[in-house]
């Protein structure tokens, strides 16, 4: 088998997991300019929620995935409403907000340990049948992950572009005051954006747990770096950019593994550093494509 082609296929699988996290993260940033470091911990909590539903309650993986999305949604809205917004109202700077999200991250991590203890849990899913095509091979489980990711991306894309709600979200992200003066319910739009990002966060968490075969209280935080990288490379605040960033990171890191497996994280960081130097605005901006601040309602 050609390893380069294999890595390309595997890269798409990795990208699909990264994309869910990165798009959710990017939505939060785009709406509120909050660099939410606790995002990884929320992914972890969502993965645990799916574990409880699927493994402990024997309700099945699909309900578990739904539970993860709901948990992510709840956590995102709660953190935005009860934590970040009060700080922003008090005029907290971006640095303070990052510190607040860091504190939340630490709190959530330790809360997980307090509830579930140290250790690793697994959904116990077998990889399933291996399908070989176009020089690559995927398991049925990987098809499911990619499918969920594509469905989620389509849902976000259609919501953002084809619905009034999406337009309101984008308008609020671009200029909240102007959006408010146009009759858009800014508060509601913000909350709904965070809810949507939370669902993606939850789905990303459970996808990570499935792909990794097991996870712990730190898994989401460990994964956060590639999520950041994808979001930044694509252009922070830009959902489409985040998808593109995820593809770049996912495929590159898999290809790099052919040369040296230990360099995967290094490659992701190198791309991030290069993009920050060359195009801080991200890939999509490079092409002058869709951005929230270009939308008219």
């Amino acid at each position: 088998m050609n390893l380069v082609v294999l890595a390309l296929g595997y890269g798409v699988v990795s990208a699909s997991i990264i994309a869910m996290g990165a798009v959710g993260f990017s939505l939060q940033y785009g709406m509120s300019q909050i660099f939410n470091v606790s995002y990884g911990a929320m992914m972890t909590v969502s993965a645990y929620a799916a574990y409880v539903v699927d493994v402990r309650l024997h309700a099945g993986l699909w309900l578990g995935i739904a539970g993860a999305g709901a948990t992510g949604c709840l956590l995102a809205v709660a953190s935005e409403r009860l934590l970040f917004t009060p700080f922003l109202r008090r005029g907290a700077t971006a640095f303070v907000i990052v510190m607040v999200s860091l504190a939340l991250d630490i709190f959530v991590q330790n809360a997980i340990v307090a509830v579930s203890g140290f250790g690793f849990v697994s959904y116990g899913l077998a990889p399933g049948h291996v399908y070989r095509f176009l020089g690559t091979d995927w398991t049925s489980l990987q098809f499911v992950l990619v499918g969920i990711s594509i469905a989620a991306m389509l849902f976000v894309g259609l919501t953002m572009t084809k619905t009034k709600l999406g337009k309101a979200m984008r308008a609020t992200a671009a200029d909240p005051e102007l959006a408010g003066s146009c009759g858009i319910k800014v508060r509601r739009s913000t909350t709904l954006t965070w809810a949507l990002s939370g669902i993606l966060c939850g789905l990303g968490g459970v996808a990570l747990g499935i792909s990794s075969a097991s996870f712990s209280n730190l898994s989401g935080d460990d994964f956060l770096f590639v999520v950041f990288a994808a979001a930044v490379i694509g252009g922070l605040g830009n959902a489409y950019g985040a998808v593109l960033g995820a593809l770049v990171i996912g495929i590159t890191t898999e290809e790099v593994a052919i040369v040296s497996p230990g360099l995967q994280d290094v490659a992701a960081f190198a791309i991030l550093a290069f993009m920050l130097l060359a195009r801080p605005g991200g890939l999509i901006r490079l092409g002058g494509r869709v951005r929230a601040d270009t939308v008219t309602v």
Binding site: I106, G124, A126, S216, D221, D222, P261, L263
Partner: protein
């Protein structure tokens, strides 16, 4: 041997030889700030009279490595329980105090200073693990002996007179794997290790020893830990068609790797692992996804013959439930057992020196342990040791992990037992031993 209790001993960290697990982006940060109330020197965990001799358990009790503190505390408390039951040390009771080293080496320095300045009658330290390079010198400066769980090669030729190590150095672990593979006819191999500091101390000595014994390493894969996939690495490992795969990976990375290795052609070659793959977190993470397709033998530092010392250790664990949650989970935990032996040896050394002054009793640590000499009495417990010393005998302590022999670098040697996994029953069965004599030869082998 049943490893179903979550013996978290050197979980993922192989004898905690590096900042292994916490390569992670936010783990260090977590460790810095985790549960502020716990940070710093924690509450005393046993008797607190002024005449009580105190053993400081300087290990992380918070953050990602937080369980290690309880591992060490369990060993210490089990030992002091036996010591106090035998009348204490020269009229003093002995107790253990948890001193949180946190999971971040940077925070460990103020933490050790706090322990050294605030804990009274500190006569011995269990620890430090990962932060040994920065904190052990501070403990030594106070002339306080310590038993460390740091497996790093930098202590293979330790010159610090107060630093002792009973856990197997990582360099020996690698050589033991190579020795076992060759002895069982595995002439070609692939190594799969995570590229964090802890795991990376194993592959070098392993590859050198394997080559020395005539084996051929087809591929050495050092992977980034915690990634969501290792499909390419798994493909490369299986495609090389090795007779055996050597491995040490943290539970999450291992579960990802082995489940994806199965994806390549549905079966796995024999696997030789380190002690890490006998630990409950590893089994919990890996077995659900590979089920009975993993043909694993793990080489673990332990004496396969149950000793009186081990029974005493395990008996002691049963009585400390109020201080350590579910202590019997550490029944076969190498690190906890080593800490039990370390504290017992220190107490015996105090008796032999007729002094509880650390500087005075420290040279006696190697006088109550070591190779058998003419006229020496073998003792398996603290009470036996005290009786023999009072009778004017020379003693040799055979602890919970068998005979204890410190070399000139204060590194202890112990046999390694090969444990074959029954993935269905989730148990291990001893299938062979690498004796102390072979371990000593392997130690002398150039890495």
């Amino acid at each position: 041997m049943n490893a179903s209790g979550p013996a978290y001993a050197r979980v993922m960290c192989g004898r905690m030889s590096g900042a292994r697990r916490r390569r992670r982006l936010f783990a260090a940060v977590t460790a810095v700030a985790v549960v502020g109330g716990i940070a710093g020197t924690a509450a005393a965990t046993s008797r607190g009279s002024s005449s009580t001799l105190t053993v400081g358990v300087f290990e992380p009790f918070s953050g990602p490595d937080g369980l290690y503190g309880n591992v060490a505390l369990a060993g210490c408390l089990s030992a002091t329980k036996a010591i106090d039951a035998a009348g204490g040390v020269l009229g003093h009771q002995m107790g253990c105090t948890a001193a949180n080293s946190t999971s971040d080496p940077a925070d460990a320095v103020p933490a050790v200073n706090k322990m050294l300045s605030s804990v009274s009658n500190l006569v011995f330290v269990v620890g430090p693990g990962v932060p040994a390079p920065t904190t052990a010198p501070l403990i030594s400066a106070r002339h306080i002996p310590m038993i460390s769980a740091n497996g790093s090669p930098q202590y293979d030729q330790n010159q610090d007179p107060y630093f002792y190590r009973l856990v197997q150095p990582d360099s020996i672990t690698g050589k033991v794997l190579a020795y076992w593979a060759i002895k069982h006819g595995f002439k070609t191999a692939v190594g799969v290790f995570t590229n964090d500091a802890g795991s990376q101390t194993v592959p070098g000595p392993l590859a050198a020893a394997y080559k020395h014994f005539g084996g051929k390493m087809l591929k050495e894969l050092n992977v980034s830990p915690g990634r969501p996939s290792y499909r390419i690495e798994a493909q490369e490992a299986i495609s090389a068609k090795p007779q055996v795969i050597f491995t040490e990976m943290d539970p999450q990375s291992a579960s990802t790797f082995w489940s994806e290795a199965l994806q390549v052609n549905g079966k796995l070659p024999p696997v030789l692992g380190t002690e890490e793959s006998t630990l409950n977190p590893w089994l919990s993470a890996v077995l659900p996804v590979v089920k009975n397709k993993l043909n694993l033998v793990a080489l673990k530092q332990s004496d396969p013959a149950p000793s009186l010392g081990l029974r005493l250790y395990q008996s002691g664990l049963r009585g400390i439930g109020s201080q350590v949650k579910n202590p019997t989970q550490f029944n076969v935990d190498t690190t906890s057992i080593a800490d039990f032996d370390g504290v017992t040896v220190a107490a015996l050394a105090m008796n032999a020196a007729k002094s509880t002054d650390p500087k005075t009793y420290q040279p006696y640590i190697t006088k109550v342990t070591g190779p058998l000499v003419k006229g020496a009495v073998i003792v398996h417990s603290y009470s036996q040791g005290v009786r023999a010393l009072r009778a004017g005998k020379t003693i040799r302590y055979f602890g919970a992990d068998g005979q204890i022999i410190f070399n000139q670098y204060h590194n202890g040697a112990a046999p390694s037992t090969a444990l074959k996994l029954n993935a269905v029953a989730r148990t291990f069965k001893a299938v062979g031993v690498v004796p102390v004599t072979e371990i000593a030869k392997l130690a002398a082998l150039k890495s």
